[in-house]
Amino acid sequence: MASRAIWKGAIQLGKHEVGVKLYAAIQDRTVHFRMLHRKDDAPVEQHIVRKDTGKDVPKADMRKAFALSKTTAVILEPEELEKLVPPESREIELLRFIPPAALGDQWYDRPYYLGPDEDNDSYFSLVHALERKNVIGVARWVMRKKRYVGALSTFDGYLVMSTLRRAEQVLSFSGIEPAKTAAPNANELKLGQQLVESIAGDFDPQLWQNDYRQRLDKLIAAKARGEKLERHVPKKRKPQASLADSLRASIAATKEKKVA
């Protein structure tokens, strides 16, 4: 199960350089489907065609363009795009370190493990230093002709680099105040808190299984054997009582059974 490194880099911190190798941390468990021709389950392929005529376009005639509006665009020639490619580098630049609480979860995109590259001592020195300071590093690097920004932290005694979203991509809010008619009253707030605390627990990822994936696998296997599977019958939902009544009834119900 050991994986091949995707990339090799070097973290720069003052005079120190920590060589690292980057590995994927995500295991794809998706059941991937393919598109088929209904008639004989023949495979389907994608053609790139002109939207107006539906005619195929040879690869040599394809260009990339930047859309200025719905009806205007600027074609960018391969040479021009080539000039935008950042210079190759192994350097992982650290811009700043911040407390973990300063980086909201909506910034995190995709995690990678960093392993040592030859020099285990400098690698684990960095792990321990980061663990002791309890901060995460905002990092920049260039990998396979693309620029990346990421958060450097530790997990389970190793370094982890998570790519981050760009500033323009993340949305934030302010000014959310409920209208008087929609503001919960003190009683409802009290009941709400009681209900949340009755369903409270610690985060244990092992508690959560992907049931749908398992059922889908069963369905595919059954169909392959020519069998029919039973339909799952959904529960009927009761009509909504007043908010306070629903809260009270819920608290009473959870006192009896444990909601996992």
């Binding site: 994927a24 107006d52 005639d61 394809m62 509006s69 021009e80 905002v138 949305l171």
Partner: protein, 336 residues
């Protein structure tokens, strides 16, 4: 077919006041007997680095599906989905069969546990979505948001969308509820899976590295460090080329094609308008970096939003610094 609640009030407004986003899914958050009908909206704007495919004369290009065997173009009703089993057999699965696998999972997100937010490792977070109350659920929505903020806990649940089950953390974000999808435990590799060397207590440089870290430590995130440099470089190139009007291609046939795409089912909704209507009339939505070139951003959003036909209005984004919240380990730093 993905089950979708019918809502009739979400028309695209005449102008784009904030971020134009699409609603992918509608359902109900439930905790105990309390139900909150909601619409799921995208919370991540696309990067402004995407390039579209055209031919050398500037005609828009798009995809078409062909039968690999017969070589001819296929219409949508000739297409089905199938899976290959381990022994190479192809099994077709219809949309109805997909639905039948878990009908009870598609409409509800049941809050099965409320956990402290800081206990969820960042590696588990996948993609954020916003939840807007649909129907008359504003009161229960505010209640849940306020309660979770007070207790520092977030709700864990799951739902099915587009044939996939998603584990979510419902997280309060300045009065709005986010649904952040989480990875399942078996989707995250362990260091042993990856083949990393044994953990070591060694580290003779640790003290020096700590000093370096200290000198670079700050208390807040600076979102300008997360600017999209590639988008900026691209925009510069485009601005240069635009000066020569010969370089600007005018394309026809684009509106119809995009209208087709929009009619596929996902509603395009202006997030700020939705929040103002359903939640709070003073709602303001901005991106973390208010110096983003909004015109370009809005045009990009409109290109994906074919239902809108009026030109983009310049968005007034103002810097909002939130007053410090209760100190949980994972504060939301939303400095616009």
């Amino acid at each position: 077919m993905p089950r979708r609640k019918k809502t009739t009030t979400k028309e695209t407004p005449a102008h784009s006041t904030g971020a134009a986003v699409r609603s992918f899914w509608s359902g109900t958050i439930t905790f105990g007997l309390v139900s909150i009908p909601v619409d799921l909206l995208s919370a991540v704007r696309p990067r402004q680095t995407a390039l579209k495919l055209v031919d050398k004369d500037g005609h828009a290009l798009g995809r078409q599906y062909h039968c690999a065997k017969e070589g001819k173009k296929l219409d949508n009703d000739e297409l089905v989905r199938g899976y290959e089993t381990d022994d190479g057999k192809i099994v077709e699965i219809t949309d109805e069969e997909f639905e039948s696998v878990a009908p009870e999972m598609s409409g509800d997100i049941e809050m099965r546990s409320f956990v402290p937010l800081e206990q969820i490792p960042p590696m588990y977070f996948q993609k954020p979505y916003f939840l807007a109350p649909s129907g008359k659920s504003a009161r229960a929505y505010h209640l849940l948001a306020t309660t979770m903020e007070k207790t520092g806990r977030v709700g864990i649940g799951s739902f099915v969308m587009r044939g996939h089950e998603y584990l979510v953390a419902i997280v309060p974000d300045h009065g709005v509820l986010r649904a952040d999808t989480l990875r399942y435990a078996d989707e995250i590799r362990t260091p042993e899976d990856v083949g990393l060397p044994k953990r070591s207590k060694a580290g003779k440089h640790a003290a020096q590295l700590e000093k370096e870290i200290e000198s670079l430590t700050r208390s807040e995130l600076d979102t300008s460090e997360l600017d999209d440099q590639e988008a900026q470089a691209l925009q510069q190139l485009v601005a240069e080329k635009q000066k020569d009007s010969d370089n600007v291609i005018h394309q026809s046939g684009l509106e119809e094609a995009d209208a087709d795409a929009a009619a596929g089912g996902a509603k395009v909704i202006d997030l700020m308008a939705v929040l103002r209507r359903s939640l709070s009339k003073n709602a303001v939505v901005s991106s973390a970096n208010s110096s983003a070139p909004i015109d370009l951003a809005e045009r990009r959003a409109q290109r994906a939003n074919a239902a809108s036909t009026s030109p983009a209005k310049r968005k007034t984004s103002t810097a909002h610094r939130k007053s410090p919240r209760k100190t949980t380990r994972r504060k939301k730093a939303s400095r616009a």
